[in-house]
């Protein structure tokens, strides 16, 4: 299981390359990455997944905290966080198996957002495991294309109360 790290960063030129560059400099690998504007319009939210152990997470969180444009780093653990991913999946269909495929998609609460004679595009949201399971089940029909967002996270409970390990909040 990858370690999900959520970062609040200043919305400035070059911030993403500072963050991404740090991972390669320090020998860590990024498995998924998502960047979008945050509530505060001067800031952006970066959510990324990396494969590392506890010690590696501690080190990478501390190094991220050192980046001047990084406002806050939160390493998430599975107990206190909500993690969602979205995927768009283009699957091959035929007259014969269309009904069967649509029934299957119901089980995963995947929405059909486009249908053409030979293709069907599904949109689904959930934990990464659910998306993996859906892909596994539709593989036999012929997956043409996949686009996943990578994981997005927010801590449970009140906003601003979530606390990461290793002093995710910058020291005051």
């Amino acid at each position: 299981m990858g370690q999900v790290i959520s970062l609040l960063v200043e919305n400035r030129t070059g911030v993403l390359s500072r963050v991404v560059g740090l991972f390669s400099q320090r020998g860590y690998n990024i498995e998924s990455l998502n960047v979008a504007p945050a509530l505060d319009s001067d800031a952006s939210r970066i959510t990324l997944t990396t494969r590392t152990d506890l010690k590696g997470t501690e080190q990478v969180v501390k190094q991220l905290n050192k980046l001047v444009d990084v406002i806050k780093v939160t390493p998430f653990d599975s107990g206190t966080q909500l993690i969602r991913e979205m995927a768009l999946v283009r699957v091959q269909v035929s007259e014969e198996n269309r009904a069967e495929l649509l029934a299957l998609s119901e089980v995963f609460r995947a929405r059909v957002i486009d249908i053409s004679p030979r293709n069907c595009i599904f949109e689904l949201t959930g934990q990464s495991g659910k998306i993996d399971a859906f892909l596994e089940n539709v593989r036999a029909y012929g997956i043409r294309e996949i686009h996943r967002t990578g994981e997005l996270t927010l801590g449970r409970g009140k906003a601003g109360k979530q606390k990461g390990a290793f002093g995710g909040q910058k020291p005051k």
Partner: protein
Amino acid sequence: MSPNAMMTEKALKGSDITVEALVREGVEVIFGYPGGASMEIHQALTRVGSDRKMRVILPRHEQGGIFAAEGYAKASGKVGVALATSGPGATNLITGLADAKMDSVPIVAITGQVPAWLIGKDAFQETDVVGISRPITKHNYLVQNVEDLPRIIKEAFHLASSGRPGPVLVDIPKNVQQSECVPEWPSEVQMRSYRPYIEARKRELEHIAEAIRGAQKPIIYAGNGTICGNASQELGEFVEKTGIPVVMTVLGLGVFPSNHPLCFDMLGMHGAFYANYAVNHADLLLAFGVRFDDRVTGKVEEFAKHGKIVHVDIDASEINKIKEAHIPVTSDIRHVLQELNKMDLGKQDYSGWVQELDGVKQQKPYRYEDNGEDILPQYVLEQLSEKTQGKAIITTGVGQHQMWAAQFFKFLYPRTLLTSAGLGAMGFGYPAALGAKLGCPDWQVIDIDGDGSFLMNLQELATAHIEEIAVKAVIMNNQHLGMVMQWEDRFYDSNRAHTYIGDPRDPESIYPSFVAIAEGFGVKGRRISRKDEVSEALDEMLALDEPYLLDVVVPFTEHVLPMIPTGQTFGDIIYED
């Protein structure tokens, strides 16, 4: 902007705003080499009023310029400023930036950039220096609007000098230098994402005190952080109060005087036998402002494994990076020492422990074998140390001479050994000496160099002569790249693989003639090759108040010892041949 500011200030060009911002930061010396993209700033520097103390030094290579800025910063504790043009000017700064990052030197590097509309078009002398320097700066900026200049320069100085110091690069496109605005000068820096100053909590201090009260064989392992953090005095008081002996990293040397009975000198790969013994046998390691570098620890699992480890550093990412600490404390080291000096730390008697260390020191001191004829570099350094009584700033290149300087010169004051430790950049010594002399004009400044290292920046002899900077260079000339040669001797059956830098067609000669080169630059020099010349030659050199070069011919057969080979342990130490 306040209306008053509008009334009193007139519009200025970006170049003049840059220079005015530097003046406002109290900059007195700039090391700048002009080019097409930075000449606007140089023009502005000629417009600085004569009432302002601002000296522009023209190095003869940008690398010399930034090394000089580092020497200035390390010696004086102030921020060093280097200025270069775009493209090759900027890339020539890179080694200096990397060095400043590794050794936490406060540097502001300003580079000219091609005009904004040419960025990304592969313009003449265009280089993405912000991209290139990202991993080797503490932070960097590309200035996109002239209005941002006052804020960015102020932030750059704040970032470079606060917390764990480091280099900050500001890249200014030429059109930004040329466009005008009425500058708005910020009175303070506001950066919500940067809180550099951290103080230990009460509870953490109590943990340290408790560890000290329970220790029988404690040792202090002091590094660059104690010097950057200006904690020399507090460290001295702490040692007097507790009686705990001290060892230092190469960058820590000088923070505690080497003539003190509780000083056990440098630890690490080429550190003293007794310093490494002390760390290996200690039951408490007080690691103050250090980063457990591999040249210090050798095999990490074996390092200081008999003791509890207290690790104090201002940079949280250093804690647990290499070695897990039992008591990790992220804090300004000066604050920790000030607080500990007020606390009850018990009344232990460490005299048995200190006697044990003294015994080891007497048995296995730093040593070398003198044949009475050849000049050994160790002897020169002993002589120099004695003659100056530690009242000198020593800079070095990288290699054998660097380690001998660390071993045989007795450092008594912080900021008196300036060396490229983390990066190990050859060619550092001479330009760093120039900067140090400008920062501390009343000090004797001596570059202890190797023939290989000196060759890498000898163009700076011109800077010394033209700018009348009275630094001395002592070249330990063994015609080899000595440290690599030493490894060849020990691990590669003495097979010489491009480590001989003399003239193979005339191996009896000493090549090149540094004295003739110096003379060509207008710098006096002398070559010596007999032991009985050393004392008198050093006296002559020290008495001069002008640049001087002393070329000392030394045998290439000498090795730096002791030595703990890479990745090994105290038990594997090679003390003598």
